[in-house]
Structures are given as structure tokens and as C-alpha cells.
Symmetry: C2
Subunit: 393 residues, 2 copies
């Protein structure tokens, strides 16, 4: 056995995430490791919490990064708020609603599913009907921005229905946070989780979460212990909480948190509103280019996320071959369809640091070139010009 | 709000971990992020698995890094192997045996505790007695190297008792892996977990685990689903497994895995036996220095870990003040006692990259200077010379 150091290629990441990482974030990542109980690290954690409250638009003190990927943040919300025998209404309009169901059931709770077509927003009326039938539901769970389809649901309306029915809302905002408005306090969301590798322009591996006062009360008053020791917020609060003694719980991923801190500094420098506007601007240009090429977006305009674009395929094209050529010849990653959408769409991400004019033009130009070369039925040569016109408008 | 980028100080990390990270590992960490399903990343993962098998001394195909800290690796072992109603014998001779108990109980299983004094090895006779009383125990769990005390237990003997009683063994080797011999296959360990931030000289945040064939059979034949979706090895095998389709499970912490890959390349370059010998050599010098100063090690010589040294305190000294001065004046971190040992000991780590002659002499010299300055009852000026003599011997 003799394995050498690994030197990854320099890709452009325009899939569903991880997306391009800001170079300042990579630089922060490599700074010297210090102890997870070092006073300077503890002070940095306080800054992370404060900036994360800004990102989530919340004043909740229980706002912090879980030391594991987004799936773990999802699990943290469910295992802390649900106990065996509870009932949760779960909206499914893509892959991640299905994963929520898995989480509910593994807590010994019952999932009442509200199903919508993949690529559509969650139907608010169906959720009201579900509560009418199950007024004892403890939780309403939904995905704000479905990463598998690029559809956005009306989080404010859904949270209001939960509140009206004395249920706690759990929101997946993995793909929305910092890309499109997320307003935890204004909307009245009780628990939300996100990821760092999407619109926050950070490396994957950390999951920001936030819990409302009502959620915290529920956690403190549980009848049974949280089934996960690692994700038990009662214990995590002892390390991250407001008046916490910084009690040792687990060893924090020190360097990943340097990186996350830096990505939050970048967000603070740009400003949330400016970041949201940037995603809209480049989405418009990408869309203009794709449409000029003859391709269409899967999601209805009203529900479309700017940062994740599900694109219909040209007739008769081998979609995997296209992605393969983009990756190998152009060092450009775009995403495949997932679950029910596998083989039917591409997913083009414009997330965080990856969301810029250069990437939009590069992506359109490369896709145009590959499709033209593969004799796809597209309007060759029209895309880049249309995108530029969108920027000029 | 205006928060600036965070620039950590350059510490020397000689506590219980995180310990000093090799600069090559930090450099790898900052390489450009690529997709977690990128063919080049998948190829790198295969190398990680192969090198991790070497580190664990196992041929088990289910040997991989969990995308979260060591506590999560612990949880992965328990939630996959235990179901509600099961019985586990848990050895406790420090903090981490207590955490194992928490994990067992959160699985709805019963923990039969075998208690030993903190700082002592697990008493093999007591474990045999526990099996005699509970022949139906499904699991025997123990900590190979107790990070809270620096005591090492006889893993081979304990695994043999488990096997004789048709139980599966779960071993915590967070602090032992790559610092002192760990031989999964030779000892017949069924499940083991470790951390990256100790003797592997890597950043914290990843937990290497390995499961034997018998453990895998147990996981495949569970009557109930694993309570954690994120840690369900049945799902994780689809991404990391031998003939896996690299099915999307969660977004891997890409950059942390670059770092872990590099730390395993470093281990392969040095060789396991050489790494073990290095830890013994520098431990002997540190010990000589401490003893010359008049301090003693807490753990009996036969059970003493070279990489983590629990040190008795000089009479009447404010131990936290000493650590504070070492940190602030010397940029040197050593560890406090944990749990029952809090305020009673220091823990001086010699782990991985931090285990070298310069650090030993620097630590002894700094400790000598601070203690002398605080009028502690020690033999001032003797420590460094004694350590040098140990190297020369």
C-alpha cells in the first residue's frame, strides 16, 4: 500500500451543493487549531451565535451550529421535539419531506403525510385539512426550499397554521438560508435547520439550527430523554447556551467553525437583502439563457427558487453524458435529478459564492457547447447573449 | 453589529485533544471543495477506507469515517447494535464509560455497570462475573484508553470474554488509535470508534468506525429500524460500502475528509509500529522530567497510556491558575481533570504530531518556570535535564 496526498481538481460547483466556497472561508479553515474550551474559541463561538441569529432573523438564544451535516440538523429538530406516541403532520413535495417522515417514525411518532406533486409548493389548504382531521398533531414539518426540485413553499402561511393549531413548526431551510428570505421570528417558526454548503458559501459538515422559546419549553419538559445523546439540546445548551458554563459535551469541529465564522462575516459584510437580490439577479440571467436555448424550468414561476434551478432536458438526450462532459471537459458540476426526478431534470445551483455573472455565462456557454456538439435540439449560440441582455435590462 | 474575521493564536496543544495538527493536514483541509459524488472524491474515499483499515488493523469492509465528532461514532456503535429490551455490560473507569451508559439507556436497553476506580484499568474478573450473572447480555462495551484518566485496559482479554459469552464487543479507542497498539481483527473487536483529533494529528469533527462481520449481521437482522437516520449503518453502507452505488445519504464533509486522508497518508509514511514507539519514547522523557520535578503520574505503570499523562498536583497549588498562565504566557494548552478528577489532576497529552522532543522539553520547561514562580514545592530546574537524559539513555 502506498497512497499519495490527494489534490482535488478545481471545479466550478453549480449543483445542489456543496457549492463554490469563498476563498476567504478556505483560508479560515486552515488556521491553527486551538482547544474547543480555549477562551478565544469560546469568544468566537459567541460571535458565531450572534451572526447566525442575524442570518436566521431571530433573537432566539438557542441558535447554534450542530457539529455535523444538515441531515443531523434535521434529526436534531425531530428527536428533540417529538416523543414516542406523538403525531406530526409532514408535508412532502420532494425528497426531503420523505426523509422527515423517516425521522418522525424513528422517534416512535406517527407521520401524517400531506403529499404534493414534486416541483410544486406545499398546498396550504391540504395542511389545514390535515389539522382538521388531526387536531392533536404536535408538530408540522415542511421543507421551505426543496433541494430536490427547486420549489419554494409559503413558510409564513404554514407556520401560522401550525400556531393556530397549537402545533410546533419545523422548517427545513437548508437551501434557502442566505439565498432567499428566511425570517424565523417574523414567521413564527419553532425549529429550523440549515446547511453551510449552500448559500452560506462554506464547506459542508455543519448544520445551523434555531429553536423558539416554545420549542425550548417543549424540550425542557419532555417526559423521556432525547433518544440521541449527541443531539440532545438539553446537553448542548450547557456548552452553547447563553449563561452556559461551557461544559464539555463533545469536541467541537474547531476548524470547520473557523470557516463558518468567516462565511457569516462575509454575509454580514454583504447584507442579507443584498444577498437575496444577488440571487434573484443571476437567476434571471440564467433563466433567460436557458429559455433562449429552448429549455424550460420545471417549477412554476411563483414558486421558483432563484438559487436552485430544475431544468427540463432536451428531447432524447443522455443527461448523464452531458453532466459527465461538463465535469470532465469544463470542470463544471451541475446536479442530476434525485428520487422521482432522477433522469428527468438537471439541477443548476446558483448558491452563495457560486452565484455570480461569470458562473452564469460560463455555465450557459459550456452547456450550449456540449449540447450542440451532441446534436441536441436547442437554439445553439443564443444562451449567453440572452443572459447578457438580462443583465443589461 | 460588526464582527471581524477570526485569527486564532498559535497554541501548542498538549491537552487531551484536540492536539497539534500536522501542517500538511491543515494544507489539505484548505484545498478546493469538490462535490461529494464527484468521481475523484469517491476514489479518495476508497483510499481513506483502505488506509483506515490499516490504522485499525482490520480487513473489515465496514470501516469508514462518520461525518461527525467521536461522540457521534460512539452513538453509531450503540444505536446500530442495540435494540429496546437488550442488555449491555458497560465497564466504567472514567468519564466515557458513563457516556456509554447514557447511550445504552437511550436505546431503550439496560446497562449492567461494571465499575472500577478512576485511573485503574477495567478489572477483567469483574467482567467475567457480570457475564456469569447476565449470560444474556448482547454487548460488552469498554473504553480502551480512558481520556479522562490516561488508563489503558486489556482490550484483547475483554473482547475474548465477550466472544466466549456470545456477546458483541464495542470498544472506545478515541485516544488509543495510532498512539498505542489497536488490533481490531487480532483481538476480535466487533465495533470500535475513534476520533481524528488525538493521535491521528487531524482536526476534530470526524469519527472513524469499524464493524466486524458479526456486527454487520446483527445490524442487517435488526427487528426495528436504527433510531438515528443519520447514523443508520444500513443506509451509510449504501454510500461507503464495498459494492455501494454511492447512493446519496448525506453531504459528506468534503474538506474535513481531505484532511483526514492526509493524516492517514502521514500515518502510512511513518508506519504504525514507529508511531507507537515514538509515543513510548517521548512519554518516558516526559515522565522522567515530571518525576525529577517531584510530581507523579496517577495511573499505575502497567496500565499507563504513553499519549495521555494524568499528573498529580503539587500540594496547595491553584491548578487552574497554572493552566491559565501556561496558556496566556506560553501559548501552551494542557488539560484539566474531568468529572471525578476535576481539580485533582492535570492531563498532559503527547498525541500524534504533538508527540515530539521539542514539545516535551517546552512543556517541562514552561511548567517548571510557572510552578517555581508560584512557589510550588517542586525541585526547580531538574525537569528538562532529566528528560534529556531519558532521550540519551
Amino acid at each position: 500500500m502506498s497512497i499519495s496526498s490527494f489534490y482535488p481538481p478545481q471545479r466550478t460547483l453549480m449543483g445542489p451543493g456543496p457549492s463554490d466556497v469563498n476563498p476567504r472561508v478556505l483560508a479560515a479553515l486552515a488556521r491553527p487549531t486551538i482547544g474547543h474550551l480555549d477562551p478565544q474559541f469560546v469568544a468566537m463561538m459567541d460571535e458565531v451565535k450572534q451572526m447566525l441569529q442575524y442570518a436566521f432573523q431571530t433573537e432566539s438564544a438557542l441558535t447554534l451550529p450542530i457539529s455535523a451535516p444538515g441531515s443531523s440538523g434535521m434529526e436534531a429538530c425531530f428527536v428533540n421535539l417529538l416523543e414516542a406516541g406523538d403525531k406530526a403532520i409532514v408535508c412532502q413535495n420532494g425528497v426531503f419531506g420523505g426523509r422527515m417522515k423517516e425521522n418522525v417514525e424513528r422517534c416512535g411518532a406517527t407521520a401524517i403525510m400531506v403529499e404534493d406533486e414534486w416541483g410544486k409548493a406545499v398546498d396550504v389548504a391540504k395542511v389545514e385539512a390535515a389539522f382538521a382531521e388531526h387536531p392533536d398533531a404536535k408538530v408540522l414539518a415542511f421543507v421551505h426550499a426543496e433541494t430536490s426540485t427547486g420549489a419554494q413553499s409559503d413558510a409564513a402561511a404554514l407556520a401560522a397554521i401550525a400556531k393556530k393549531n397549537n402545533a410546533l413548526s419545523i422548517m427545513d431551510c437548508v437551501t434557502s438560508l442566505a439565498g432567499t428570505p428566511v425570517k424565523i421570528d417574523e414567521w413564527g417558526i419553532d425549529a429550523a435547520y440549515s446547511g453551510t454548503q449552500k448559500c452560506l458559501s462554506c464547506v459542508p459538515g455543519i448544520s445551523p439550527v434555531t429553536f423558539s422559546e416554545a420549542a425550548q419549553e417543549t424540550i425542557k419538559n419532555r417526559k423521556t430523554p432525547v433518544q440521541s445523546w449527541f443531539l440532545d439540546m438539553n446537553l448542548i445548551m450547557g456548552y452553547w447556551g447563553k449563561n452556559a458554563k461551557r461544559a464539555y459535551h463533545h469536541t467541537a469541529p474547531v476548524n470547520s467553525l473557523y470557516a463558518f465564522h468567516e462565511s457569516l462575516v462575509l454575509l454580514q459584510e454583504e447584507g442579507l437583502e443584498a444577498a437575496w437580490a444577488r440571487h434573484v439577479e443571476h437567476h434571471a440571467a440564467l433563466r433567460a439563457g436557458l429559455e433562449a436555448m429552448g429549455l424550460s424550468l420545471v417549477v412554476d414561476e411563483a414558486d421558483r427558487l432563484p438559487q436552485l434551478n430544475a431544468v427540463s432536458l432536451p428531447e432524447g438526450i443522455d443527461e448523464a453524458a452531458v453532466r459527465g462532459r461538463l465535469l470532465n471537459e469544463y470542470q463544471l458540476e451541475i446536479g442530476a435529478g434525485l428520487g422521482a426526478m432522477a433522469g428527468k431534470i438537471w439541477r443548476i445551483g446558483l448558491m452563495g459564492h457560486a452565484c455570480n455573472q461569470k458562473n452564469v455565462l460560463f455555465c450557459l456557454g459550456s452547456l450550449d457547447a456540449v449540447l450542440t456538439d451532441m446534436d441536441a435540439k436547442i437554439n445553439s449560440g443564443a444562451a449567453v447573449k440572452a443572459a447578457l441582455a438580462s443583465y443589461a435590462a
